[in-house]
């Protein structure tokens, strides 16, 4: 069994020493995982995520990124390993061209010349923005701005990607593009962690789901299991994806169905209905 790439050990954190945001959170993240962190705002999702790249340091407990303790390691060493994409593109975009924007991250890491150029082109092609190198970031529509912010982290080639609410404000097509991008990154061996409210997205993309509430981890397991824990989700005021709830209600009525995505439900219903014929 591989070593976890990130270990979170009993972390406590409070903003301004007053508002306790994390209460004894522990988890292990293994290389190549595809994780979703869900929960209400204020539950600790973003706070936890910011501990993963060293932006925030635990008040109690510790976070180890590839063995480096985030409390004692300079943040710029951690961000080499863990890339964080913020929710709002306007908090990051500042360059006058798409190219410069994507080059900023790797430049900070000391990459230059041909290697830098290769990285930028590769990052842009991953998100489908080839050809936009000379555009002004603020001339792009919101969806492309989002992709640009992801590209500017891809070019840093971290091993772990943390995406903070990538689907907020997106339309359905945009969500699909993001889902495909997450899968593509994951297929390349990257660990992908997504903080999101979009349960349909979680069901279709994440293999492991972590539910946070009141600064604690309430559920942590395979997505299917978490989606099926309807009572726990309800207590946390989370609505599972429609198919999961549909499946749950039919199960309660005695139907042998366990689906969290449309394709799963389709297959299972085909079987059930033909059995009745």
């Amino acid at each position: 069994m591989a070593e976890p790439i990130i270990k979170v050990e009993n972390v406590w954190f409070a903003y301004d020493d007053k508002v306790v945001a994390l209460r004894g959170v522990s988890l292990d993240i293994y290389p190549g995982e595809m994780i979703a962190i869900i929960g209400q705002n204020g539950g600790g999702k973003t706070t936890l995520a910011k501990h993963l790249n060293g932006l925030l340091k635990p008040k109690k407990g510790r976070v180890l990124v590839k063995g480096m303790d985030t409390r004692y390691t300079p943040t710029h060493k951690i961000v080499k390993v863990v890339g964080y994409v913020f929710q709002n593109p306007s908090h990051q975009l500042f360059a006058s061209t798409v190219y410069d924007e994507v080059a900023y991250g790797p430049k900070n890491l000391g990459i230059e010349g041909e290697e830098l150029d290769k990285r930028v082109k590769w990052a842009l092609s991953m998100v489908g923005l080839e050809g936009y190198e000379k555009e002004n970031p603020y001339d792009l529509d919101y969806g492309k701005m989002k992709l640009l912010t992801i590209a500017s982290v891809i070019s840093m080639d971290p091993e772990v990607f943390v995406l903070d609410e990538p689907t907020t404000g997106q339309d359905h097509r945009g969500r699909m593009i993001l889902a495909d991008l997450c899968k593509k990154l994951n297929e390349q061996g990257k660990t992908v962690i997504v903080i999101t409210h979009d349960m349909k997205f979680v069901a279709e993309v994440a293999r492991r789901t972590i539910l946070m509430a009141d600064g604690r981890i309430v559920l942590d397991g395979p997505t299917r299991e978490v989606m099926s824990a309807i009572d726990v989700l309800r207590k946390a005021a989370i609505k599972p994806p429609q198919i999961a709830e549909f499946s749950y209600r039919l199960r309660e009525a005695g139907v042998n169905i366990n689906a969290i995505t449309i394709s799963e439900a389709l297959e299972q219903l085909k079987a059930l209905l033909s059995a009745r014929r």
């Binding site: 961000v79 306007s90 908090h91 990051q92 500042f94 900070n108 840093m156």
Partner: protein, 279 residues
């Protein structure tokens, strides 16, 4: 952010209740006296008065911190630059002592040192009295006042927008800083590199703030804010007893200060021979 917004909401002191015009006039008045004198003693007393009012109004922390961060280092730098002979501050004439570095004789002059202390203190008086005005004035009440004074809506909106921007900037600055640190912005590198990084912070900050102000303008427009009707005034816009008491206090202080000025000159404590406006 909480710093700026919390202060008005939680506290209601005599200073908060003063009419905005009174506080604005106080800012002009005390800044004028800070410039009338060229003296570290008098200016320090004026600054202390501002800070005392701030303490009474329970806004000492933000104002005090600003003064500490801006004024103190400035004094330190200025005293060094102006007081030391080699830098050639033109009003230096009275040597207080000299010291010896690597065989060179460095004289330290009284005028430079005094001026190095006085001029940042003057700015401190302006800043603290202005901050006192902003932090203790109910913004909606300020808008009511501007409406009463029949300021055209466009300008009222500009005031609202400026007031909105300050907490917005503070909030946003922190997130933007985090976003750029996540892309490798380093705080342990040379000053030059840091200056370049500064740009990476200022641009998103400015753009996102401007964008937000524009969106807000649209939202307010949709609520009919620019309707050319007579707007209802929700807050008290007249002077009250407290304002008159405050004006009386300022009158007494004016008398005292003018007496000192005409009897002892523009530099009663420091006894500077020349009057200097800015360094």
């Amino acid at each position: 952010m909480g710093l700026l917004r919390r202060t008005i909401a939680e506290v209601e002191t005599f200073v908060h209740r003063l009419d905005p015009r009174t506080k604005f006039f106080f800012f002009l008045w005390i800044s004028a006296f800070a410039y009338l004198f060229c003296d570290y003693g008098v200016t320090a007393i004026l600054l202390a008065a501002c800070l005392a009012l701030a303490a009474y109004a329970r806004v000492l922390r933000p104002i005090g911190l600003t003064i500490l961060i801006i004024v103190l280092p400035w004094i330190a730098v200025d005293v060094f630059v102006l007081g030391l002979g080699p830098f050639g501050f033109p009003w230096n004439e009275t040597e207080i002592f000299r010291f010896n570095i690597f065989g060179y004789e460095v004289p330290v002059y009284y005028e430079g040192v005094v001026w190095g202390v006085t001029w940042p203190l003057r700015i401190g008086v302006c800043i603290s009295s202005a901050m006192l005005f902003f932090l203790t004035t109910n913004q909606a009440r300020l808008v009511s006042l501007l409406v009463k004074l029949r300021l055209p809506y466009r300008y009222i909106y500009m005031v609202i927008a400026t007031l909105q921007m300050i907490p917005m900037l503070v909030d946003e600055a922190n997130v933007i800083y985090q976003a750029q640190v996540s892309r490798g912005l380093r705080t342990d590198v040379s000053l030059l590199k840091r200056a370049m990084h500064y740009f990476a912070l200022m641009v998103p900050l400015t753009l996102s703030t401007l964008y937000k102000v524009q969106v807000r303008a649209i939202a307010l427009e949709s609520r009919g804010f620019s309707a050319p009707v007579k707007k209802t005034i929700l807050y008290r816009t007249t002077f009250a007893t407290e304002d008159y008491i405050f004006f009386a206090a300022m009158a007494v202080a004016t008398a005292i200060l003018l007496y000192v000025y005409f009897t002892y000159g523009f530099s009663p404590i420091a006894k500077m021979r020349f009057y200097i406006i800015a360094g």
